[in-house]
Protein backbone atom coordinates (compact mmCIF):
# COMPACT_ATOMS: atom_id res chain seq x y z
CA UNK A 1 0.00 0.00 0.00
CA UNK A 2 1.09 3.51 -0.71
CA UNK A 3 0.47 6.72 1.09
CA UNK A 4 -1.11 9.41 -1.09
CA UNK A 5 0.46 12.85 -0.91
CA UNK A 6 -1.45 15.74 -2.42
CA UNK A 7 -0.63 19.43 -2.77
CA UNK A 8 -3.17 21.90 -4.11
CA UNK A 9 -2.81 25.21 -5.94
CA UNK A 10 -6.14 26.99 -5.88
CA UNK A 11 -6.83 30.02 -8.06
CA UNK A 12 -9.74 32.16 -7.03
CA UNK A 13 -10.94 35.42 -8.61
CA UNK A 14 -11.32 38.22 -6.11
CA UNK A 15 -14.29 40.56 -5.84
CA UNK A 16 -13.70 44.21 -6.75
CA UNK A 17 -15.19 46.91 -8.93
CA UNK A 18 -12.20 47.24 -11.20
CA UNK A 19 -9.41 44.91 -12.27
CA UNK A 20 -6.15 44.26 -10.48
CA UNK A 21 -3.96 46.63 -12.48
CA UNK A 22 -6.42 48.49 -14.69
CA UNK A 23 -9.58 50.50 -14.20
CA UNK A 24 -11.73 48.27 -16.44
CA UNK A 25 -14.69 46.61 -14.78
CA UNK A 26 -14.17 43.32 -12.94
CA UNK A 27 -17.38 41.57 -13.78
CA UNK A 28 -18.46 38.23 -15.12
CA UNK A 29 -19.99 38.94 -18.51
CA UNK A 30 -21.20 36.75 -21.33
CA UNK A 31 -20.69 39.55 -23.87
CA UNK A 32 -17.13 39.12 -25.17
CA UNK A 33 -14.74 42.05 -24.87
CA UNK A 34 -17.12 44.28 -22.96
CA UNK A 35 -14.90 45.02 -19.94
CA UNK A 36 -11.46 45.68 -21.37
CA UNK A 37 -8.91 48.50 -21.10
CA UNK A 38 -5.69 49.24 -22.95
CA UNK A 39 -3.79 47.97 -19.91
CA UNK A 40 -5.51 44.57 -20.05
CA UNK A 41 -4.61 44.28 -23.73
CA UNK A 42 -0.93 44.88 -23.02
CA UNK A 43 -0.62 47.50 -25.74
CA UNK A 44 2.83 49.06 -26.05
CA UNK A 45 3.38 51.72 -23.38
CA UNK A 46 0.76 50.66 -20.86
CA UNK A 47 1.60 50.55 -17.16
CA UNK A 48 -0.07 48.64 -14.31
CA UNK A 49 -1.49 50.46 -11.27
CA UNK A 50 -2.39 48.25 -8.32
CA UNK A 51 -5.98 48.20 -7.06
CA UNK A 52 -6.39 48.86 -3.32
CA UNK A 53 -9.48 46.66 -3.05
CA UNK A 54 -7.66 43.64 -4.52
CA UNK A 55 -4.83 44.13 -2.04
CA UNK A 56 -7.33 44.51 0.78
CA UNK A 57 -9.14 41.33 -0.13
CA UNK A 58 -5.96 39.35 -0.51
CA UNK A 59 -4.68 40.52 2.89
CA UNK A 60 -8.02 39.56 4.46
CA UNK A 61 -7.74 36.10 2.96
CA UNK A 62 -4.12 35.73 4.06
CA UNK A 63 -5.10 36.68 7.60
CA UNK A 64 -8.10 34.36 7.58
CA UNK A 65 -5.71 31.56 6.60
CA UNK A 66 -3.45 32.50 9.53
CA UNK A 67 -0.61 33.63 7.26
CA UNK A 68 2.24 36.05 7.92
CA UNK A 69 1.89 39.33 6.03
CA UNK A 70 5.06 40.92 4.56
CA UNK A 71 6.17 44.49 5.33
CA UNK A 72 6.09 45.47 1.67
CA UNK A 73 3.84 44.60 -1.22
CA UNK A 74 5.95 43.58 -4.23
CA UNK A 75 5.34 41.95 -7.60
CA UNK A 76 7.26 39.87 -10.10
CA UNK A 77 6.69 39.01 -13.74
CA UNK A 78 6.12 35.43 -14.84
CA UNK A 79 7.16 35.27 -18.48
CA UNK A 80 5.66 32.93 -21.06
CA UNK A 81 4.06 33.11 -24.48
CA UNK A 82 0.42 32.05 -24.79
CA UNK A 83 -2.50 33.54 -26.74
CA UNK A 84 -4.47 34.19 -23.54
CA UNK A 85 -1.66 36.34 -22.12
CA UNK A 86 -1.51 39.57 -24.16
CA UNK A 87 1.46 41.14 -22.34
CA UNK A 88 3.56 37.98 -22.68
CA UNK A 89 3.93 37.95 -18.92
CA UNK A 90 1.67 37.65 -15.93
CA UNK A 91 2.15 39.97 -12.97
CA UNK A 92 2.33 37.79 -9.87
CA UNK A 93 4.07 37.53 -6.51
CA UNK A 94 6.97 35.14 -6.49
CA UNK A 95 9.52 36.26 -3.92
CA UNK A 96 7.32 37.89 -1.37
CA UNK A 97 3.72 36.60 -1.39
CA UNK A 98 0.99 38.49 0.45
CA UNK A 99 0.62 35.54 2.84
CA UNK A 100 3.02 32.79 3.94
CA UNK A 101 3.17 29.99 6.53
CA UNK A 102 -0.53 29.72 7.22
CA UNK A 103 -2.99 26.94 7.89
CA UNK A 104 -6.63 26.04 7.44
CA UNK A 105 -8.46 23.51 9.65
CA UNK A 106 -10.58 20.87 7.94
CA UNK A 107 -12.94 18.27 9.32
CA UNK A 108 -13.13 14.89 7.63
CA UNK A 109 -15.22 12.13 9.15
CA UNK A 110 -15.38 13.96 12.48
CA UNK A 111 -11.60 14.33 12.66
CA UNK A 112 -9.96 17.75 12.53
CA UNK A 113 -6.80 18.24 10.49
CA UNK A 114 -4.53 21.21 9.95
CA UNK A 115 -3.77 21.87 6.28
CA UNK A 116 -0.59 23.92 5.98
CA UNK A 117 -0.58 26.85 3.57
CA UNK A 118 2.78 27.40 1.90
CA UNK A 119 1.68 30.77 0.55
CA UNK A 120 -1.12 32.76 -0.96
CA UNK A 121 -0.30 35.37 -3.61
CA UNK A 122 -2.02 38.05 -5.63
CA UNK A 123 -1.84 37.91 -9.41
CA UNK A 124 -3.92 38.60 -12.51
CA UNK A 125 -6.17 36.29 -14.52
CA UNK A 126 -5.65 35.59 -18.22
CA UNK A 127 -8.02 36.11 -21.14
CA UNK A 128 -10.37 33.25 -21.95
CA UNK A 129 -10.30 31.32 -25.19
CA UNK A 130 -13.43 30.05 -26.89
CA UNK A 131 -12.67 27.03 -29.01
CA UNK A 132 -14.40 26.16 -32.27
CA UNK A 133 -13.73 23.49 -34.87
CA UNK A 134 -10.79 25.05 -36.64
CA UNK A 135 -10.16 28.26 -34.75
CA UNK A 136 -10.24 29.87 -31.33
CA UNK A 137 -11.57 33.30 -30.35
CA UNK A 138 -10.11 35.45 -27.59
CA UNK A 139 -12.32 37.14 -25.00
CA UNK A 140 -10.27 39.65 -23.00
CA UNK A 141 -12.93 40.27 -20.30
CA UNK A 142 -11.27 37.99 -17.75
CA UNK A 143 -7.82 39.41 -18.51
CA UNK A 144 -6.49 41.28 -15.49
CA UNK A 145 -9.14 40.17 -13.02
CA UNK A 146 -7.51 39.93 -9.58
CA UNK A 147 -6.66 36.34 -8.78
CA UNK A 148 -5.51 34.89 -5.49
CA UNK A 149 -3.47 31.70 -5.76
CA UNK A 150 -3.27 29.63 -2.59
CA UNK A 151 -0.63 26.90 -2.43
CA UNK A 152 -0.80 24.17 0.21
CA UNK A 153 2.08 22.14 1.50
CA UNK A 154 1.99 18.53 0.29
CA UNK A 155 0.15 17.48 3.43
CA UNK A 156 -3.19 16.29 2.08
CA UNK A 157 -3.57 12.51 2.10
CA UNK A 158 -6.83 11.68 0.39
CA UNK A 159 -9.32 12.90 -2.16
CA UNK A 160 -11.80 13.53 0.65
CA UNK A 161 -9.33 15.72 2.50
CA UNK A 162 -8.65 17.62 -0.71
CA UNK A 163 -12.35 18.28 -1.24
CA UNK A 164 -12.82 19.22 2.41
CA UNK A 165 -9.98 21.72 2.08
CA UNK A 166 -11.43 23.18 -1.12
CA UNK A 167 -14.84 23.56 0.44
CA UNK A 168 -13.29 25.06 3.54
CA UNK A 169 -11.29 27.50 1.44
CA UNK A 170 -14.32 28.49 -0.60
CA UNK A 171 -16.19 29.04 2.61
CA UNK A 172 -13.45 31.41 3.83
CA UNK A 173 -13.78 33.40 0.61
CA UNK A 174 -17.52 33.62 1.08
CA UNK A 175 -17.35 34.43 4.80
CA UNK A 176 -14.77 37.17 4.15
CA UNK A 177 -16.85 38.38 1.18
CA UNK A 178 -13.74 38.41 -0.99
CA UNK A 179 -14.98 36.30 -3.91
CA UNK A 180 -18.08 34.80 -5.46
CA UNK A 181 -16.00 31.64 -5.84
CA UNK A 182 -18.38 30.06 -8.33
CA UNK A 183 -16.97 26.97 -10.00
CA UNK A 184 -19.54 27.15 -12.79
CA UNK A 185 -18.08 30.50 -13.81
CA UNK A 186 -14.50 29.31 -13.44
CA UNK A 187 -13.99 31.73 -10.56
CA UNK A 188 -12.32 29.01 -8.52
CA UNK A 189 -9.96 26.57 -10.24
CA UNK A 190 -7.48 24.10 -9.02
CA UNK A 191 -4.13 22.50 -9.91
CA UNK A 192 -3.54 19.21 -8.15
CA UNK A 193 -0.15 17.62 -7.41
CA UNK A 194 -0.28 13.94 -6.62
CA UNK A 195 2.49 11.58 -5.58
CA UNK A 196 2.65 8.24 -3.83
CA UNK A 197 5.13 7.03 -1.23
CA UNK A 198 5.58 3.98 0.96
CA UNK A 199 4.63 4.51 4.60
CA UNK A 200 8.22 4.03 5.68
CA UNK A 201 9.71 6.39 3.05
CA UNK A 202 11.05 9.71 4.22
CA UNK A 203 11.17 11.37 0.84
CA UNK A 204 8.17 12.28 -1.27
CA UNK A 205 7.59 10.28 -4.43
CA UNK A 206 7.66 11.76 -7.93
CA UNK A 207 4.82 14.21 -8.33
CA UNK A 208 2.44 14.54 -11.20
CA UNK A 209 0.65 17.84 -11.71
CA UNK A 210 -2.89 18.07 -13.05
CA UNK A 211 -3.80 21.54 -14.21
CA UNK A 212 -6.96 23.62 -14.25
CA UNK A 213 -9.63 21.40 -12.78
CA UNK A 214 -12.83 23.36 -12.42
CA UNK A 215 -15.17 21.56 -10.05
CA UNK A 216 -14.51 20.02 -6.67
CA UNK A 217 -16.09 16.76 -7.74
CA UNK A 218 -13.68 16.59 -10.67
CA UNK A 219 -10.80 17.18 -8.27
CA UNK A 220 -11.95 14.15 -6.33
CA UNK A 221 -12.30 12.01 -9.45
CA UNK A 222 -8.97 13.18 -10.82
CA UNK A 223 -7.16 12.29 -7.62
CA UNK A 224 -8.78 8.85 -7.39
CA UNK A 225 -7.99 8.14 -10.98
CA UNK A 226 -4.38 9.39 -10.76
CA UNK A 227 -3.73 7.46 -7.54
CA UNK A 228 -4.99 4.34 -9.28
CA UNK A 229 -2.74 4.96 -12.28
CA UNK A 230 0.34 5.60 -10.16
CA UNK A 231 -0.38 2.60 -7.92
CA UNK A 232 -0.57 0.36 -10.96
CA UNK A 233 2.73 1.71 -12.27
CA UNK A 234 4.50 1.21 -8.93
CA UNK A 235 2.99 -2.23 -8.37
CA UNK A 236 4.27 -3.41 -11.71
CA UNK A 237 7.75 -2.17 -10.76
CA UNK A 238 7.64 0.93 -12.93
CA UNK A 239 8.59 4.51 -12.21
CA UNK A 240 6.21 7.46 -12.15
CA UNK A 241 7.39 10.20 -14.49
CA UNK A 242 7.43 13.79 -13.33
CA UNK A 243 5.06 15.50 -15.72
CA UNK A 244 1.99 17.62 -16.18
CA UNK A 245 -1.17 15.73 -17.01
CA UNK A 246 -4.64 16.82 -17.92
CA UNK A 247 -7.76 15.28 -16.43
CA UNK A 248 -10.45 14.50 -18.97
CA UNK A 249 -13.70 14.76 -17.04
CA UNK A 250 -15.84 13.06 -19.65
CA UNK A 251 -13.59 10.02 -19.97
CA UNK A 252 -12.39 9.96 -16.38
CA UNK A 253 -8.75 9.54 -17.36
CA UNK A 254 -5.63 11.66 -17.15
CA UNK A 255 -3.29 12.07 -20.07
CA UNK A 256 0.17 13.59 -20.43
CA UNK A 257 0.51 17.25 -21.44
CA UNK A 258 4.21 17.83 -21.04
CA UNK A 259 7.15 16.16 -19.37
CA UNK A 260 9.56 17.66 -16.86
CA UNK A 261 12.08 18.33 -19.62
CA UNK A 262 9.58 20.60 -21.33
CA UNK A 263 8.82 22.47 -18.13
CA UNK A 264 8.71 26.19 -18.83
CA UNK A 265 11.33 28.45 -17.26
CA UNK A 266 9.21 31.44 -16.28
CA UNK A 267 12.22 33.70 -15.78
CA UNK A 268 10.66 35.50 -12.84
CA UNK A 269 12.00 38.96 -12.07
CA UNK A 270 10.82 42.02 -10.17
CA UNK A 271 8.27 44.07 -12.13
CA UNK A 272 10.03 47.41 -12.55
CA UNK A 273 6.71 49.22 -12.98
CA UNK A 274 5.43 48.36 -9.52
CA UNK A 275 7.51 49.90 -6.75
CA UNK A 276 7.26 48.28 -3.30
CA UNK A 277 4.43 49.67 -1.18
CA UNK A 278 4.79 49.65 2.58
CA UNK A 279 1.82 47.87 4.11
CA UNK A 280 0.43 49.92 6.97
CA UNK A 281 0.33 47.85 10.17
CA UNK A 282 -2.74 49.72 11.38
CA UNK A 283 -4.58 48.91 8.17
CA UNK A 284 -3.68 45.25 8.51
CA UNK A 285 -5.00 45.10 12.06
CA UNK A 286 -8.20 46.84 10.94
CA UNK A 287 -8.57 44.21 8.24
CA UNK A 288 -7.99 41.50 10.80
CA UNK A 289 -10.77 42.96 12.92
CA UNK A 290 -13.09 42.97 9.94
CA UNK A 291 -12.85 39.20 9.44
CA UNK A 292 -16.03 37.57 10.73
CA UNK A 293 -16.07 34.36 12.77
CA UNK A 294 -15.41 31.67 10.17
CA UNK A 295 -17.39 28.49 9.53
CA UNK A 296 -15.04 26.26 11.50
CA UNK A 297 -15.39 28.26 14.67
CA UNK A 298 -19.13 28.59 14.24
CA UNK A 299 -19.45 24.85 13.63
CA UNK A 300 -17.62 24.18 16.85
CA UNK A 301 -19.85 26.57 18.80
CA UNK A 302 -23.03 25.12 17.35
CA UNK A 303 -22.14 21.50 17.98
CA UNK A 304 -20.31 21.90 21.27
CA UNK A 305 -22.07 24.79 23.01
CA UNK A 306 -25.52 24.52 21.46
CA UNK A 307 -25.53 20.72 21.12
CA UNK A 308 -26.80 20.86 17.58
CA UNK A 309 -26.22 17.75 15.51
CA UNK A 310 -23.35 17.94 13.03
CA UNK A 311 -25.54 17.61 9.98
CA UNK A 312 -27.69 20.60 10.87
CA UNK A 313 -24.71 22.63 12.08
CA UNK A 314 -23.05 21.96 8.75
CA UNK A 315 -26.19 22.99 6.88
CA UNK A 316 -26.22 26.29 8.76
CA UNK A 317 -22.52 27.19 8.44
CA UNK A 318 -22.34 26.26 4.78
CA UNK A 319 -23.92 29.60 3.92
CA UNK A 320 -22.62 32.57 5.88
CA UNK A 321 -25.88 34.45 5.38
CA UNK A 322 -27.83 31.60 6.94
CA UNK A 323 -25.34 31.31 9.74
CA UNK A 324 -25.54 35.05 10.37
CA UNK A 325 -29.34 34.71 10.42
CA UNK A 326 -29.10 31.89 12.87
CA UNK A 327 -26.81 33.85 15.16
CA UNK A 328 -29.16 36.81 15.01
CA UNK A 329 -31.94 34.50 16.26
CA UNK A 330 -29.72 33.33 19.12
CA UNK A 331 -29.00 36.95 20.00
CA UNK A 332 -32.77 37.46 20.25
CA UNK A 333 -32.80 34.68 22.83
CA UNK A 334 -34.22 32.03 20.52
CA UNK A 335 -33.64 28.50 21.73
CA UNK A 336 -30.57 27.29 19.73
CA UNK A 337 -31.94 23.81 19.01
CA UNK A 338 -35.47 24.94 18.15
CA UNK A 339 -34.15 27.72 15.92
CA UNK A 340 -31.85 25.22 14.22
CA UNK A 341 -34.73 22.78 13.70
CA UNK A 342 -37.02 25.40 12.19
CA UNK A 343 -34.22 26.97 10.14
CA UNK A 344 -32.78 23.78 8.64
CA UNK A 345 -36.25 22.29 8.21
CA UNK A 346 -39.05 24.54 7.11
CA UNK A 347 -37.14 27.73 6.32
CA UNK A 348 -34.38 26.20 4.18
CA UNK A 349 -37.00 23.96 2.61
CA UNK A 350 -38.86 27.08 1.58
CA UNK A 351 -35.68 28.72 0.24
CA UNK A 352 -34.94 25.68 -1.90
CA UNK A 353 -38.48 25.40 -3.16
CA UNK A 354 -38.67 29.04 -4.13
CA UNK A 355 -35.00 29.39 -5.18
CA UNK A 356 -34.52 32.27 -2.82
CA UNK A 357 -31.68 33.35 -0.58
CA UNK A 358 -32.22 33.96 3.10
CA UNK A 359 -31.88 37.69 2.51
CA UNK A 360 -34.77 37.68 0.08
CA UNK A 361 -37.44 36.28 2.41
CA UNK A 362 -39.89 38.25 4.53
CA UNK A 363 -39.33 36.22 7.67
CA UNK A 364 -36.97 38.17 9.90
CA UNK A 365 -34.98 36.51 12.71
CA UNK A 366 -37.26 38.43 15.07
CA UNK A 367 -40.33 36.74 13.56
CA UNK A 368 -38.80 33.27 13.66
CA UNK A 369 -37.98 33.66 17.34
CA UNK A 370 -41.49 35.00 18.01
CA UNK A 371 -42.97 31.98 16.31
CA UNK A 372 -40.83 29.56 18.28
CA UNK A 373 -41.76 31.31 21.53
CA UNK A 374 -45.48 31.04 20.68
CA UNK A 375 -45.05 27.32 20.31
CA UNK A 376 -42.90 26.69 23.34
CA UNK A 377 -45.20 28.70 25.56
CA UNK A 378 -48.05 26.57 24.32
CA UNK A 379 -49.86 29.47 22.67
CA UNK A 380 -50.04 27.53 19.46
CA UNK A 381 -49.31 23.97 18.56
CA UNK A 382 -46.31 23.17 16.47
CA UNK A 383 -48.63 22.09 13.66
CA UNK A 384 -50.25 25.50 13.81
CA UNK A 385 -46.77 26.96 13.90
CA UNK A 386 -46.20 25.59 10.41
CA UNK A 387 -49.29 27.32 9.14
CA UNK A 388 -48.28 30.58 10.79
CA UNK A 389 -44.77 30.29 9.29
CA UNK A 390 -46.23 29.82 5.82
CA UNK A 391 -48.39 32.91 6.22
CA UNK A 392 -45.52 34.95 7.61
CA UNK A 393 -43.29 33.93 4.71
CA UNK A 394 -46.07 34.88 2.31
CA UNK A 395 -47.14 38.17 3.83
CA UNK A 396 -44.30 39.37 6.02
CA UNK A 397 -46.75 39.90 8.85
CA UNK A 398 -45.49 38.95 12.27
CA UNK A 399 -46.58 35.55 13.72
CA UNK A 400 -48.50 37.32 16.52
CA UNK A 401 -50.61 39.16 14.00
CA UNK A 402 -51.17 36.02 11.95
CA UNK A 403 -52.25 34.09 15.00
CA UNK A 404 -54.67 36.84 15.80
CA UNK A 405 -56.05 37.01 12.28
CA UNK A 406 -56.55 33.27 12.07
CA UNK A 407 -58.02 33.12 15.55
CA UNK A 408 -55.95 30.07 16.22
CA UNK A 409 -54.47 30.95 19.51
CA UNK A 410 -54.60 27.94 21.78
CA UNK A 411 -57.40 27.41 24.32
CA UNK A 412 -55.57 27.00 27.58
CA UNK A 413 -58.25 28.22 29.95
CA UNK A 414 -59.07 25.23 32.20
CA UNK A 415 -62.73 26.09 32.66
CA UNK A 416 -63.31 26.54 28.98
CA UNK A 417 -61.58 23.23 28.27
CA UNK A 418 -63.58 21.47 31.00
CA UNK A 419 -66.81 22.73 29.40
CA UNK A 420 -65.84 21.19 26.08
CA UNK A 421 -64.66 17.96 27.71
CA UNK A 422 -67.98 17.58 29.49
CA UNK A 423 -69.84 18.25 26.28
CA UNK A 424 -67.95 15.50 24.49
CA UNK A 425 -68.45 13.08 27.38
CA UNK A 426 -72.17 13.71 27.43
CA UNK A 427 -72.36 13.07 23.70
CA UNK A 428 -70.61 9.70 24.07
CA UNK A 429 -71.86 8.20 27.28
CA UNK A 430 -71.63 4.62 26.07
CA UNK A 431 -67.94 5.06 25.52
CA UNK A 432 -67.43 6.17 29.07
CA UNK A 433 -68.46 2.69 30.12
CA UNK A 434 -66.06 1.22 27.58
CA UNK A 435 -63.32 3.38 29.05
CA UNK A 436 -64.05 2.17 32.51
CA UNK A 437 -63.91 -1.42 31.21
CA UNK A 438 -60.38 -0.77 30.04
CA UNK A 439 -61.01 -0.21 26.36
CA UNK A 440 -58.74 2.14 24.49
CA UNK A 441 -61.07 5.01 23.70
CA UNK A 442 -59.13 7.87 25.33
CA UNK A 443 -57.68 9.00 22.03
CA UNK A 444 -61.09 8.99 20.46
CA UNK A 445 -62.26 11.49 23.08
CA UNK A 446 -59.20 13.66 22.43
CA UNK A 447 -59.94 13.51 18.73
CA UNK A 448 -63.48 14.69 19.32
CA UNK A 449 -62.22 17.54 21.54
CA UNK A 450 -59.78 18.61 18.86
CA UNK A 451 -62.47 18.47 16.23
CA UNK A 452 -64.76 20.68 18.30
CA UNK A 453 -62.00 23.24 18.88
CA UNK A 454 -60.47 22.99 15.42
CA UNK A 455 -57.30 21.80 17.08
CA UNK A 456 -56.90 24.94 19.13
CA UNK A 457 -57.08 23.30 22.50
CA UNK A 458 -53.90 22.89 24.50
CA UNK A 459 -53.39 19.14 24.11
CA UNK A 460 -51.71 18.47 27.45
CA UNK A 461 -54.29 20.40 29.38
CA UNK A 462 -57.10 18.73 27.48
CA UNK A 463 -55.84 15.23 28.25
CA UNK A 464 -55.31 16.12 31.91
CA UNK A 465 -58.90 17.39 32.29
CA UNK A 466 -60.38 14.57 30.23
CA UNK A 467 -58.66 12.04 32.45
CA UNK A 468 -59.99 13.77 35.56
CA UNK A 469 -63.55 13.83 34.25
CA UNK A 470 -63.55 10.25 32.98
CA UNK A 471 -62.27 8.93 36.24
CA UNK A 472 -64.78 10.80 38.37
Amino acid sequence: MYKTVIGLEVHCELKSNSKNFSSAKNSYSTIPNSNVSVVDLGYPGILPVINKEAVKNSIKMALAMNCDIPDYLTFERKNYFYPDLPKGYQITQFKNPIGTNGYVMINVGGKEKKILIHDTHLEEDTASLDHYNTYSLIDYNRCGVPLLETVTEPCINSADEAVAFLEGLRSIFLYCDTSYARSDRGQIRCDVNVSLMKEEDTELGTKVEMKNINSFSSVKEAIICEVKRQTEILNSGGKVLQETRRFDESKGITYSMRSKEDAIDYKYFTDPNLPPIKLDKKWISELKESIPKLHNERFRTYTKDYSINEKDAYTIVRDKKISDYYEECIKLKGDPILVSNWLTGSVIGYLNKMSLTIEQIKLTPQMLVELINLISSGKISSKQGKTVLERTLETGKSPLIIVDELGISQIDNEEEIRKIVLEVISENESLVIDYKNGKRVFDYFIGQIMKKTKGRVNPSLASKILKEELEK
Partner: protein, 95 residues
Protein backbone atom coordinates in the same frame (compact mmCIF):
# COMPACT_ATOMS: atom_id res chain seq x y z
CA UNK B 1 27.95 28.18 -25.42
CA UNK B 2 27.04 26.54 -28.68
CA UNK B 3 24.97 27.29 -31.74
CA UNK B 4 22.44 24.67 -30.66
CA UNK B 5 21.86 26.38 -27.35
CA UNK B 6 21.40 29.68 -29.18
CA UNK B 7 18.87 28.07 -31.50
CA UNK B 8 16.99 26.72 -28.53
CA UNK B 9 17.03 30.14 -26.88
CA UNK B 10 15.77 31.83 -30.03
CA UNK B 11 13.03 29.24 -30.32
CA UNK B 12 11.90 29.95 -26.78
CA UNK B 13 11.79 33.64 -27.64
CA UNK B 14 9.51 32.64 -30.53
CA UNK B 15 11.63 33.42 -33.56
CA UNK B 16 14.28 31.87 -35.75
CA UNK B 17 17.46 33.34 -37.19
CA UNK B 18 19.43 32.25 -40.21
CA UNK B 19 22.69 30.36 -39.99
CA UNK B 20 25.16 33.27 -40.37
CA UNK B 21 23.16 35.22 -37.85
CA UNK B 22 23.72 32.46 -35.32
CA UNK B 23 27.43 32.61 -36.12
CA UNK B 24 27.55 36.33 -35.39
CA UNK B 25 25.51 35.79 -32.28
CA UNK B 26 27.84 33.10 -31.03
CA UNK B 27 30.82 35.43 -31.48
CA UNK B 28 28.96 38.18 -29.70
CA UNK B 29 27.94 35.89 -26.87
CA UNK B 30 31.51 34.99 -26.18
CA UNK B 31 32.44 38.66 -25.97
CA UNK B 32 29.51 39.62 -23.79
CA UNK B 33 29.95 36.67 -21.43
CA UNK B 34 33.58 37.67 -21.02
CA UNK B 35 32.43 41.18 -20.20
CA UNK B 36 29.86 39.82 -17.81
CA UNK B 37 32.70 38.13 -15.98
CA UNK B 38 33.84 41.64 -15.05
CA UNK B 39 30.73 41.85 -12.96
CA UNK B 40 31.82 38.83 -10.98
CA UNK B 41 35.15 40.53 -10.22
CA UNK B 42 33.59 42.96 -7.79
CA UNK B 43 34.36 41.69 -4.27
CA UNK B 44 31.58 40.66 -1.88
CA UNK B 45 28.96 41.29 -4.51
CA UNK B 46 26.67 38.55 -3.28
CA UNK B 47 25.96 40.47 -0.09
CA UNK B 48 24.41 43.37 -1.93
CA UNK B 49 20.66 43.68 -2.46
CA UNK B 50 19.90 43.73 -6.21
CA UNK B 51 18.55 47.09 -7.34
CA UNK B 52 15.44 47.42 -9.48
CA UNK B 53 14.27 50.98 -8.89
CA UNK B 54 16.69 53.90 -9.45
CA UNK B 55 15.90 55.22 -5.98
CA UNK B 56 13.41 54.34 -3.25
CA UNK B 57 10.01 55.76 -4.15
CA UNK B 58 8.28 57.12 -1.06
CA UNK B 59 4.55 57.48 -0.58
CA UNK B 60 3.55 55.26 -3.47
CA UNK B 61 -0.20 54.86 -3.22
CA UNK B 62 -2.79 52.37 -4.38
CA UNK B 63 -5.39 53.00 -7.04
CA UNK B 64 -8.87 53.50 -5.69
CA UNK B 65 -11.20 50.76 -6.89
CA UNK B 66 -13.15 52.68 -9.54
CA UNK B 67 -14.11 51.76 -13.09
CA UNK B 68 -12.75 54.50 -15.37
CA UNK B 69 -11.25 53.40 -18.67
CA UNK B 70 -12.82 50.87 -20.94
CA UNK B 71 -12.47 50.41 -24.66
CA UNK B 72 -15.20 49.87 -27.18
CA UNK B 73 -15.04 46.69 -29.25
CA UNK B 74 -14.02 48.72 -32.32
CA UNK B 75 -10.91 49.94 -30.54
CA UNK B 76 -10.13 46.49 -29.17
CA UNK B 77 -10.22 45.02 -32.66
CA UNK B 78 -8.80 48.01 -34.56
CA UNK B 79 -5.27 46.60 -34.76
CA UNK B 80 -6.15 42.93 -35.07
CA UNK B 81 -5.93 41.53 -38.57
CA UNK B 82 -8.31 38.62 -38.03
CA UNK B 83 -11.58 39.03 -36.14
CA UNK B 84 -14.86 37.19 -35.83
CA UNK B 85 -17.94 37.88 -33.70
CA UNK B 86 -16.28 40.84 -31.96
CA UNK B 87 -13.32 38.71 -30.98
CA UNK B 88 -9.78 38.21 -32.18
CA UNK B 89 -9.52 34.97 -34.13
CA UNK B 90 -6.53 32.69 -34.39
CA UNK B 91 -5.86 29.11 -35.42
CA UNK B 92 -7.30 26.67 -32.92
CA UNK B 93 -5.43 26.62 -29.65
CA UNK B 94 -4.79 23.02 -28.68
CA UNK B 95 -4.15 22.73 -24.97
Amino acid sequence: MSKDILKMLANKMMFTMNEDEYDTLLEEFNIILKQMDLIGNIPNIEKIEPMTFPFPLENVSFREDCVVDELGVDDILLNSEDNLYNQVRLPKVVE
